[in-house]
Amino acid sequence: MIGSRKPGIGASVTRIEDRPLVTGHGRFAGDVSFPRQLHMRLVRSSHAHGKLNSVDVTDAMSIRGVVAVWTAKDIEDLPPIDFREGAIEKLAAFRQPVLVKSRVRYVGEPVAAVFAEDPYVAEDAADLIVVNVDELPPVVDAAEAATEFTLGLSTEPTVCRQGYGDVEAAFRAAELTVELDLSIGRHSGVPLETRGAIGRYDASKDVLELHGAAKVPHRNRELLARMLGRSLAGIHLFEGHVGGGFGVRGEIYPEDILVLVAAMRLGRPIKWIEDRREHMIAANHSRQQRHKIRAGVDREGRLIAIDNEFFHDQGAYIRTHGTRVADTACGMLPGPYHLPNYRVNGHFRLTNKTPAATYRSPGRYETNFVRERLMDAIAAKLGISRVEVRRRNLIGKGEMPFKRPLVALGDDVVLDSGDYEQLLDKALARCRWEDLERDVASRRKAGEFVGLGIAMYVEKSGLGPTDGARVNVHTSGDVEVITGGASMGQGFETVIAQVCAEKLSIDYRKVRVVHGRTDRIEYGVGAHATRATVMTANATFVAADKVRMKALDVAAQLMQAEVQHLDIIDGNVVRTDIPSEATISLAEIAHHLRPASPTRGDRDPGLVAEGWFTTDHMTYPYGVQIAVVNIDSGTGQVHVEKVLIAYDIGRAINPMLVRGQLVGGFVQGLGGALFEEFQYDERGQPLSVTFADYLLPTVQEVPDIDILLTEDAPSTCNPLGIKGAGEGGIAAVGAVIASAVDDALGSIGSITQLPITPQKLKAMLDKHNRNGMTREQS
């Protein structure tokens, strides 16, 4: 046999993305520059709510180097920013205008745009612009009664309702009812690279370009073409390196529109790079919900009914996602448990804060916290162990696929495969749960406030409906995979390269992966909702398979052999029937498929093929998280000692990258559980606008993280069996930390809010101490 099989699917290979990134040759939006470019700087509202009277730009215009200053009247013809899914009549009035017309609705809202030769000058000019506003009282609490958004419209545009069964009857029959009022604090993705957009108009070809696009280039292109009245062929998006997305980057924001319109009207490229302070008040917020949840259970702790009323704090406008986050919360709340009767009313409320949208595991981070708090409360009330109460409620393997009469992300919730109980047992065994319990108990006796927490959850991934990829083997032997995907650092290129390399039996490092380029491929759904691996990898697999078949077909002809007696090893076609030295490389085969090649025959030119993968259902990975925490009773500080994430991922294309996603997601989730919050005062003024007040976890806050990756329940929705890992790390962190801190507090108190802060814990501990017990720790 000649050569060997190179590592492909399942191998923890190093990434092909890395070299330019470690050598400082990345091309992030801030690194993109064009000759004669102008710099855009936005003037943003410093009021949370008010009537815009005037914007005085005279002084700004007089600064040397300022080319133009725009307000709403300069872009009168532009529509407000539409929803990604298309028009939604009922919500249309709540869309955000590109620049404020008459009413400012949040601190940070774009009021004017300065275009200048230099970013320092642009900021100088922006400083001189006077915005005159008559303040109006702001709405800062989404749970308060709805008020007027504008004449005839309420700050509650809609209520997201889902449900089934007879909830009232179920509660009457319940042995016990548990009621909780739970809140998740406002926080978001906060990637390390702020947003950026560069607009350029190529007049020679009548093509408008947007550089710095991310996440869903093709979808954005459609939306932009519609908004600007351009043909699709006349607008292209170019994604370079992206410094993290997490859901927040890649939606259409006012700034994206402005750089494009300005590029056309001013005849020069327009570069806009957001600064950090802007990011905190202008990029999508997320997570803030308040849930008033009621559950009825039988005496064994089995859920009979849940009635949930929640208040979703959407901020000032409805952005590109419509009501997606709230809808997802409705549909995903039940998690891995049976729930015979369910009613949920998600009050979608507008407030005078930065608008909110999706952030990694949207609707699930929140509802996992809510649901798992409920399970812990049920266990406590009935005197059952927290593990046992969960076990009793789990949907069984034999019940899969399990259809819930619910909708999430526009898709029916059909849990495709999963053995939740098996993963629970594996997780308990892995962390030696009983030993942990004993250990925690003895440490408590010695006076420590230590606790053990657990959370179970179901994630969703692989949002379709369809994706395509093109695999092209060049005559040089290099392979190019052209996808409509997007990369924000998750290792997309490497995963696609591995899949292609596996099918073609070549070195994955010889594969170039193209993404984020609407001019290279007509269609793409980008990278979001943990779909890149599932959709694009499967499409690549299909395309690579076609290329393989075409190669073997040509080789059969050239080698005078039968296709079934040929194989590809190390990029060379070899015979498997008789010992032979004869091989033909894929490069040579590509050569034979040149348009003018005499050996091409009737075949289409090129060793190239397109492959499509379609799915009508999302797939549902699932997990268990366990955590040990320690509260410093002298300060209220929570220290997370160790954590286990057990996750069934169906199949891992690159386990090292999967682990990276889970660990990275976990640490983000930790931020939301203990540190991060966009706080507002009663006037609607944002208080967390720098990295000194919005606290991201550092290396010192990260615990030991054990990961148990299982592949026990491959997805039935795609041939590779993949379920995707992007959101699996973050999804249950709020839930498990709350569970552990609650356990540490014992009867002293109960966690009903995220983030859990030292101040809140110390107040609980101090109150308890004043009431008698002394578990003071030095």
Binding site: Y120, R277, Q637, D681, A692, L695, T698, T757, P758, Q759
Partner: protein, 284 residues
């Protein structure tokens, strides 16, 4: 977040700097030393000095001077200087303990001791240290030199007795006597963050009893100060958990913490109690 424009001067002599401040101080001129606090403030445009006098090039201000009784810290001495063993004895031990709480390594490379003192952020560890050790701030202007005791220097949050044409040329810290035990405890949300409360404790022992106790609280009130009631409670006592706890309790009662969004009066008070005890214990 780009700073507003300014005119830049880089004197190489103290006299030059003082002359520049005489002219530009009253015209919204500022001193640039480490820049680790000033430059972010300028990036946010919360400060827009029209003139910056960069003193980093003044050789005379670069190095510490250890006398028999006093440690002199001129204006351009970086935080990082105190990470090693530049200063011996209990004062050195104390400074080494404290310096690790100041921001992060790269900030300590550039930021200066005297810059922190001039900035008078309640969360500044060095401000608390100068008060604890009865330090003196040396301020020079065209009108002459002033010596201001630390306890008189801090007037309020980010406010000192320094006039707009004055340059802090250095701070003097009386050296702690041999055998002084020193402890420091601080609470912040993450390591390296601005302190919410900090306590510096020092004392000597004679026949097993505490004398010359010092307890200095920072971060809880607008300015750092020594808590004499808590110090008195320690005087003459033996080292024990109960004497430490008693002093801590008194400190917590006496202190009048300010309120902010995330840290209420009660929380700060609680922290004063915990940290006073811990600072005393770590000194033992």
């Amino acid at each position: 977040m780009k700073p507003a424009p300014f005119k830049y001067y880089a004197p190489i002599l103290v006299d030059e700097a003082v002359g520049l401040l005489a002219e530009y101080g009253p015209q919204d001129g500022r001193v640039l030393a480490g820049g680790q606090s000033l430059i972010p403030t300028m990036a946010f445009r919360m400060a827009r000095p029209s003139f910056l006098v960069d003193i980093n090039g003044i050789a005379e201000l670069a190095k510490i001077d250890i006398g028999p009784e006093v440690l002199r810290i001129p204006a351009c001495v970086r935080h990082a200087t105190f990470q090693g063993d530049a200063v011996h004895g209990p004062t050195g031990v104390l400074l080494r303990k404290v310096v690790h709480y100041i921001a992060h390594y790269p900030i300590r490379v550039r930021g200066t001791f005297c810059g922190s003192v001039a900035n008078a952020d309640p969360a500044s560890e060095w401000c608390c240290t100068t008060v604890a050790l009865d330090g003196t701030i040396i301020a020079r202007s065209a009108r002459g030199t002033r010596r201001i005791l630390a306890k008189d220097f801090y007037k309020g949050v980010m406010t000192t007795d320094l006039r707009e044409d004055e340059l802090i040329t250095g701070v003097e810290l009386p050296l702690l006597k041999e055998g002084t035990r020193v402890g420091f405890a601080e609470f912040s949300r993450r390591a390296g963050d601005f302190a919410i409360v900090m306590v510096l404790a020092a004392y000597r022992l004679q026949n097993g009893c505490i004398f010359e106790p010092r307890i200095s609280i920072g971060g809880a009130e607008a300015v750092p100060r020594r808590i004499s009631d808590a110090e008195s409670a320690l005087l003459g006592r033996e080292i024990s958990a109960s004497s430490f706890e008693r002093a801590a309790k008194i400190a917590a009662e006496v202190v009048q913490p300010f309120n902010d969004n995330n840290n209420t009066i009660n929380f700060r008070r609680s922290l004063v109690r915990t940290l006073t005890r811990r600072a005393l214990e770590s000194a033992a």
